[in-house]
Amino acid sequence: MVAQTPARAPARWRVGRLVERRVETPNAQTLVLELPDWPGHLPGQHVDVRLTAPDGYQAARSYSVAGPAVDGPGGPRIELTVQRVPDGEVSPYLIDVYREGDPVEVRGPLGGWFVWRPQETAPVLLVAGGSGVVPLMAMIRARRAAGSRVPFRLLYSVRTPADVIYADELRRRARDDLGLDVAYVYTREAPDGWRGEPHRIGLADVNNHGWPPDLEPLCYVCGPTGFVETAADLLVGLGHQTRRVKTERFGPTG
């Protein structure tokens, strides 16, 4: 049997339009794009977004899709959450300049490795650093949408409480989505009443909020390169099999 994937169109650039924008944090926004012939995607997949300047100069960046596609009046819609990279070429444009109705080129869905399929039965550990939460949120949303009862744990490292993307939704889902646990690591500033000091993710965090390796969970780690390196090493050091620790790093460009 072949793993079920949405029909894969060739890697052509489709033209999408911005239909809605939501502010998630002072530096992150969710862009809702309408893509009339979108073939569907799996949780964790990404798209390439390409911008063309009036002089023909092009810049492309990869962004994770933040949740299942939804139907709108003009066709399927997908959500991307974009974190502003200071001095970046693409992210400041998408956040500050790109307007509702404006076109943008999108290629995808891409990547069949860093995906979670709702028919999976193993427990899942999601480890996010900053905007690395985006593809993991797609998995959390898809889990609920599919009625999956697979236990999920999210360990989410942020600088301060104000940097939590999807904060309200995560609070609500941690309460309402049975079998979903959400824990945070604060690296610079913790909320009032938080036990312990701000710190970078460490063995105790992964040990306390992850799954024992005996349960053979699927682990997904996404964040900046250094964060992913640390978290993946901690998981492998605890005894998780390398092939069950899937990683997605993002770089300094944006």
């Binding site: 072949v2 798209v47 390439d48 990547g111 069949g112 490795w113 860093f114 997605e248 770089g251 300094p252």
Partner: protein, 93 residues
């Protein structure tokens, strides 16, 4: 940052889809240098060059280079002994 940071082989899917009909990030590749066999999604990809350079996560030797110009692409797979690509099961006619 003192050393160049890299991305995962996951990001190769978009650029390689221009050349291949299948998702090569889910393919398995063997490093020609150290012999490690693993998912192409696990490569360390350096995107700071005029192209993309994919290195073996074990020995850090180059397994793949891809350079895209407006009207052509160069793909160098010298460092990859083989690629094993998942395919749909062929049913007998």
């Amino acid at each position: 940052m003192t050393e160049l940071s890299y991305l995962d082989g996951n990001m190769l899917d978009g650029p390689l889809r221009e050349l291949f009909a299948v998702d090569l990030s889910t393919a398995t590749g063997r490093c020609d240098h150290c012999g490690t066999v693993g998912p192409m999604a696990g490569l360390q990809v350096y995107a700071h060059a005029p192209g993309l350079v994919g290195r073996c996560p074990t020995c850090v030797e180059v397994m793949l280079r891809l350079v895209r110009a407006p009207d052509r692409a160069w793909l160098d797979l010298r460092g990859t002994t083989f690629l094993q690509v998942p395919m749909p099961v062929q049913t007998p006619r």
